[in-house]
Amino acid sequence: MNNNEPDASGEIAQDRDAPSPDASLAGNQQDRMQRLAAVRPRLLSFARLHLRQNTAAEDAVQDALEAAIEKDASFSGRSGYETWVFGILKHKILDIMRAQKRQGLWQPLEDESDDDAIDRQFQQSGRWQKEARPSSWGEPEAVFENERFWKVFDACMIVLPDTQARVFSLRELMGLTTEQICRELAIKENNCWIILHRARLRLRSCIEQGWLTGEDA
């Protein structure tokens, strides 16, 4: 149990007047509750990107928050608290995805058939189509910090075909390896690479349209 949260807020400071172990424990818990409330919107947008359904995302976040409160004592303090909560949410999301798959709620995985949206970006020769040639998005660090960029990103994730979005989010947001993804989805690794390639090309094209035509560009 970590009694020395480095960035403890005002709650803890007040407890210094009454330094009994019980009071400081309660202070820690209250501090955690505030941090949970603060991280909730980020948890929710993370869950939405994976589950693509508001209700399912809300349920997953609710479950994760309850589990975080319940398991509070098992937070070791080695990782950041928010990272720990995200870890719980990731497990919940994976459970939900597995259940959805078992219940046959997923569209069959697309096979290696052609993807028109990708074909349209390239000429027959394999060169970029003139209007599809990638442009600069600006300094990566500045882009990464820009809230509007992530709004465009989220919007583009929503219009991505289901399978591409699912594989992309497992890989790039959840951090699974392609080997793990293949096991989860029962697809061949080669197929996984094809899907990721398409997802990245579609996303970059969609983001570029939304990002560079926006008001800050």
């Binding site: 390239f122 394999g126 970029w128 990638p134 998005w137 990464f144 090309l201």
Partner: protein, 69 residues
């Protein structure tokens, strides 16, 4: 000599598996001559970090799960 479409396949797979030596050479050679593919490569790399925005602390699993050379 690979074309842009194939180059984007390699720059995508580079983020998911170690490329073979010949693939690395082909990709590097193509990137040295193609500005559009260089931009695409930067964009893929940025997308590859998309998860970091949620767990702003450096993610512990990132180095082992990515196979960048």
């Amino acid at each position: 000599m690979i074309m842009c479409r194939r180059a984007t396949e390699l720059m995508s797979q580079r983020l998911d598996r170690p490329l073979r030596w010949s693939e690395r050479i082909s990709l590097r050679f193509h990137l040295s001559m193609c500005g559009a593919c260089c931009q695409c490569n930067r964009q893929f790399e940025l997308l590859h970090r998309a998860g970091d925005r949620f767990t702003s602390a450096p993610s512990a699993e990132e180095p082992s799960s990515s196979n960048q050379e």
